[in-house]
Symmetry: none
Subunit: 407 residues, 2 copies
């Protein structure tokens, strides 16, 4: 039986076609205002006109009923099996905070917590240190970082997150993931000692033990955040690059660290966006048009407003993108795909499992005869994509970048 | 986990229902004339009327974006996983030229090429011998065949193909595939010596070395075709028959060697068609109606005209088949499926990845309420077949040939 990636890789041919994949983060919605979703409510004359000339459909990011985080949902859209590659929580936390990760680094997600001594035992009384303000977090991280820069030859890098969260990166020789969380998951229990699951993770476990002890010393006078818990202790997964798998010189146009990090994971070039708006992203696309085959253009705010339950603001971002669509078409991409990585319905204030509208425009598309880009309209479309991971082969085919399988 | 084939096999029951699978080769199209596909343009009153009484949908031959050759696309329609069984290039070349292949035979695809000696090295200067005319090829094959009939007890059979191509079959004891191509893929390089990848292929490598040397001797005075390159050195894959898997006495009505060969691969009986038109095929179907459970009826010309970019001619073949459809219905098949093995849009002059219209007619079909047989109309159908390999269980079910799974 052929391996899916090896199979697709074996069919790849290179040419000079241009592909644009627009990901409107958290695009899909659910009925909210007058029973309409954000996309249905938004005025999107350009997307609707493009839909009429395109193949449209609905796509499950992972599979029916599964609500994905940004990691797996993006991997799928980039053509990878999201169940094959695990991106550790520690890796995502670090990437999301813009930390540079290299193969061999250990990436960890940390929490400040509150502990007290009881009958000679150290027990956790608040796993989130009372959700301290982010400002407070920054002060503590500065304190930790200036006290702990290195342990046994391992470089230690702390990065502030929101409230009680932070990212931790260890860089040094001989480290190997394989140490479970130190968070006991319950108050009233002792923090778990770092323990190596296999001999090759022993050095990491030793470094973490020392690091935790030193952090305790640094934080001992703090009223709330007097200890740390470590979770998602992980390494960069080894993922073949888009160049290697699909023969694409791929570039990412994104303004948030998490998405830049995900793009870097699959070997995309990170393009510099001079600003943070869609307008800046389109400028960047134009400027770099000649240099790459594949452009991933990420619009973040659809998701952010969905998570805030701000229906109107999400509608506005969709409309804002719609206004810029002609600028992308002016570049004459051979294939243009527009979709979301997952749904973020304002009604749920969260990511959801709802499949996402998908639009594929190319010279060889068979238009569905549907002149509306929305969840309901796309459900009637001819593009029977089922899983998001199937989009990339279809995109490559429309760019004439896949040769025939068998004779 | 149940193996898919074992699973289906375990549910098979036999009865006296009749199934017809019509494969209009390369049926699917893409927008071409007035934005229409060949099927949309063709006048197909009978197919449209049948569609209204049938379940219709779109089917991916392999998976979204993958353009298949006839080998894997037919295997899928016959109910096999096309990624499980690999049909070697040499096997397909021989089957396509009507060569009889048996288990244990070695099947090879050959090219005449031009070589010259340079500093004591033999180098390839034209991998296709200037694409010599097919007539010239025939003369050379006759010459080779009369000089080389047998090597070390192995029977050698050459068969002319188009231009510089030929098929080669080796039949004898102790041969095992496992020798890479001798074609260096580049001019200016030496032909590659046959080398066994494992000890069991050593005898084959030895026979091929002798064969190549003798061919060189035979061809040495030829101005262009003075050497041969061997590719796709393969054996018949071991595929369970349709009888074994699905309990079907299956028969093939096809006029082109390739499709006869593919049908034989899955154990179909090859029926003799007295002529080469659709009319002759329908005659054959009628004549053999009592003797089999399952008929594969293949119409080739839709694909041929698509590959020539001849939109009108492809339209005509579709219309011609449409006119014969009532004759098939007159036989009162319990299940009639009409589809393509893959798309061959005239606009691409080639096979393509576009999913194919699929129509399933049976007493138990739930009509989609769609009275048009075309890509767009079928896209709105209720038959959510995804992969072509899923068609056969559905066909068997409609013929009441699959019993309940579990209690």
């Amino acid at each position: 039986m052929l391996d899916r990636e090896e199979f697709i890789k074996s069919l790849v041919v290179e040419n000079d076609t241009k592909i644009v994949l627009v990901v409107l983060d958290g695009l899909g919605g659910a009925p909210f205002k007058d029973g309409k979703t954000e996309l249905e409510y938004a005025k999107t004359p350009n997307l609707d006109a493009l839909a009429a000339k395109s193949e449209v459909g609905l796509v499950h990011p992972i599979m029916p009923g599964i609500t994905p985080g940004s990691g797996p949902s993006h991997l799928a859209l980039f053509g990878y099996d999201p169940l094959k590659y695990e991106i550790g929580r520690g890796v995502l936390e670090n990437l999301g905070l813009g930390v540079d990760l290299r193969p061999g680094d250990i990436a960890i997600r940390g929490n400040f917590c509150t502990v007290k001594e009881e009958d000679g035992r150290l027990i956790v009384v608040d796993r989130r240190a009372g959700r301290i303000p982010t400002e407070e977090n920054k002060r503590l991280i500065t304190k930790l970082q200036s006290a702990i820069k290195e342990i046994d030859g391992v470089e230690v890098t702390f990065t502030s997150g929101m409230e009680h969260r932070f990212a931790l990166r260890l860089r040094g020789e001989g480290l190997k993931a394989g140490v479970p969380d130190t968070d006991p998951q319950k108050v009233g229990e002792e923090p778990i000692e770092p323990k190596a699951l296999a001999p090759e993770s022993q050095r990491l476990a030793d470094v973490l033990k020392k690091l935790i002890n030193r952090a305790r010393e640094v934080l001992k006078e703090e009223p709330k955040a007097n200890f740390i818990l470590l979770r998602g202790i992980s390494e960069l997964p080894s993922i073949p690059s888009m160049r290697e798998l699909f023969g694409l010189r791929a570039a990412a146009i994104a303004t948030y660290p998490m998405y830049k990090g995900l793009a870097k994971l699959v070997g995309m070039e990170l393009l510099e966006v001079e600003g943070s708006t869609i307008a800046h992203e389109i400028e960047c696309l134009k400027r770099s048009w000649g240099e790459y085959d594949f452009f991933y253009l990420h619009v973040k705010k659809t998701d952010s407003h969905g998570e805030d339950g701000n229906f109107e603001a999400k509608v506005k971002v969709i409309e804002e993108f719609d206004a810029f669509l002609p600028k992308i078409l002016d570049l004459k991409p051979d294939v243009l795909a527009v979709t979301g990585d997952h749904s973020t319905p304002s009604v749920l204030k969260n990511h959801s499992w709802h499949p996402n509208p998908f639009l594929l425009y190319s010279k060889y598309a068979i238009p569905s005869g549907i002149s509306e880009f929305s969840e309901k309209a796309c459900a009637r479309g001819n593009l029977r994509l089922y899983y998001a991971k199937e989009a990339m082969p279809l995109i490559l085919a429309n760019a004439l970048r896949l040769k025939k399988f068998g004779a």
